[in-house]
């Protein structure tokens, strides 16, 4: 690791002052320390935000406010989350390991960087790590890469699970920064790479995530299906988050989000529109997949994801709509 100074903020305001001065926030450190060891991240100054008091889960309106420093473990263990937003608990529990979840935080999880192998290998060309250097994944080993939302510059996925559930649950990210406070819907938080893949999300310099809020529970059936190379402690090849309600034998409401399929957590209103008001059937699920994957494009080793997404979607819809 390159040498750096480390300060400990005792409040959000102290953290914001350090961030304004150019420091990088460290929360659990489970992603940042890893990247610093590999010299992919080389901050001169870190500010620990662990003791800023942003680590509470509190009711808000009919929903819930989850502080940015709430650990993934504490969030998934919270009875309110488990009872009313089980999708969130399920997605978190499907990710990483118990040890990592004890350290990883809500804000840090949202900001975790891609797992593209070339991003991690500083001898390789990577526009995300080093703008303008090229993209070794495009012609390389791109089995885990995205089939939606890619650009000429970058085809990497956002790899996390928690954000996929938050997207289906219409969660909102709360941010404070030099320009004051603002809110960003989870669906607008992550950035598709375009010609600037270095920036994964819309946070501006000096901004701090303070919380994520969940709206009132929907009471729908909630499932998180994660397809991966081994049963546990592995990133998703594809994941599907669903929150669905039936009325009689028809789908009354449906929120669907996909992980590791696109460059960002993926939600497509056109897919939901195909489903709502209809009777569940294999033909309907297939139609939804057609819409979801209309612009999908593989890069060789990840072509299988297009067929896998179709099956994962059908299986999830089947489970969510069966009697």
């Amino acid at each position: 690791m390159k040498p750096f100074t480390l300060n400990h903020a005792q409040s959000a305001n102290e953290a914001l002052a350090s961030l304004a001065g150019g420091a990088t926030a460290i929360a659990g450190g489970t992603n940042l320390v890893d990247l610093m060891k590999l010299q992919i991240a080389t901050p001169d100054e870190l500010v620990s935000i662990r003791r800023t008091g942003l680590d509470a889960i509190t009711p808000e309106n009919d929903g819930l406010r989850i502080g940015a420093l709430v650990t993934n473990a504490d969030c998934a263990a919270d009875l309110r989350v488990r009872k009313s937003w089980p999708l969130l608990a399920k997605a978190i529990l499907a990710g990483a390991s118990p040890q990592l979840r004890n350290r990883a935080t809500t804000g840090g999880n949202l900001c975790q960087r891609t797992r593209c192998g070339y991003f991690y290998d500083t001898t390789q060309a990577c526009n995300k790590r080093e703008p303008g250097s090229g993209c070794a994944a495009r012609e390389g080993f791109n089995r885990i890469h995205a089939v939606l939302g890619t650009s000429d510059a970058c085809i990497a996925t956002y790899p996390g699970d928690m954000a996929v559930a938050l997207l289906a649950l219409d969660a909102v990210v709360h941010v404070e920064g030099p320009q004051g406070a603002r809110t960003i819907s989870v669906g607008e938080f992550h950035r598709q790479p375009g010609d600037d893949p270095g920036r994964d999300n819309v946070l501006e310099r000096g901004e701090l995530i303070t919380a994520v809020t969940l709206p009132a529970p929907t009471g729908g059936r909630q499932i998180y299906r994660k397809v991966r190379d081994r049963a546990s402690y592995a990133f998703a090849l594809i994941s599907v988050a669903i929150d669905l309600s039936m009325e009689g034998d028809r789908i009354a409401r449906c929120a669907l989000a996909f992980g590791s399929l696109g460059t960002v957590p993926w939600r497509d209103p056109a897919v939901e529109a195909v489903l709502v008001g209809e009777r569940p059937s294999p033909a309907l699920f297939d139609k939804a997949a057609d819409v979801l994957l209309r612009d999908a494009r593989g890069f060789g080793k990840n072509d299988f994801k297009i067929a896998l997404a179709r099956r994962a979607l059908a299986a999830t819809l089947h489970e969510a709509t069966k009697g």
Partner: protein, 178 residues
């Protein structure tokens, strides 16, 4: 520079001055507590698992200076050659290791798992995340999945943990399979 401290196995120690020092390197290199192992140094194996305020974490991914005031427990604090804990004895009984490299991490992890179970934390294989989880082989395997064993002693590790659960007083009953 202000000196900051953490407690390790009940004794207070000054944290390192170098901000780059990980908790793992501090324990091993500075304090000589070489029980926690460096398997991958990237959070991918669990060999470095220690307890911080009773919770298991990967010490390789945590900066030591972030642990001011924390209570850290390593395998040395759980039991030594003539003071083996119940779980350590169960590992011996069931041959829960071959080379032993992953074992300190496995045991620290299993100790924390007991508390998580007692507190009713669900896992990815829990049927109903809102319910108090049952203790089954499947649950234990999922909950120990953050600790890899290159020797593949997994089934014996689970057998040792099952024995500990069966013997520990006051742990939730309700095993569904064995």
């Amino acid at each position: 520079m202000v000196q900051i401290f953490a407690r390790v196995n009940g004794t207070e120690h000054p944290l390192p001055q170098d901000s780059r020092r990980t908790l793992l390197d501090w324990l091993r290199e500075d304090l000589g507590l070489t029980g926690a192992k460096k398997g991958c140094d990237h959070g991918q194996c669990g060999a470095c698992t220690v307890l911080v305020d009773g919770r298991r974490i990967n010490s390789c991914l945590s900066l030591a200076q972030l642990h001011e005031g924390d209570e850290i427990e390593t395998i040395e604090g759980i039991g030594g050659a003539d003071s083996l804990s119940t779980l350590q004895k169960a590992f011996v009984t069931h041959d829960g290791f071959q080379c032993g490299y992953c074992t300190p991490g496995q045991i620290c992890s299993a100790k924390a798992l007991m508390r998580e179970l007692a507190e009713g934390w669900p896992s990815a294989v829990s049927e109903d995340v809102a319910a108090h989880p049952p203790i089954s082989g499947e649950e234990l395997r999922e909950r120990m999945s953050g600790n890899l064993c290159r020797c593949g002693a997994y089934s014996n590790i689970i057998a040792a943990i099952e024995e500990m659960i069966a013997e520990a007083p006051g742990t939730p009953a309700g095993r569904q399979d064995a």
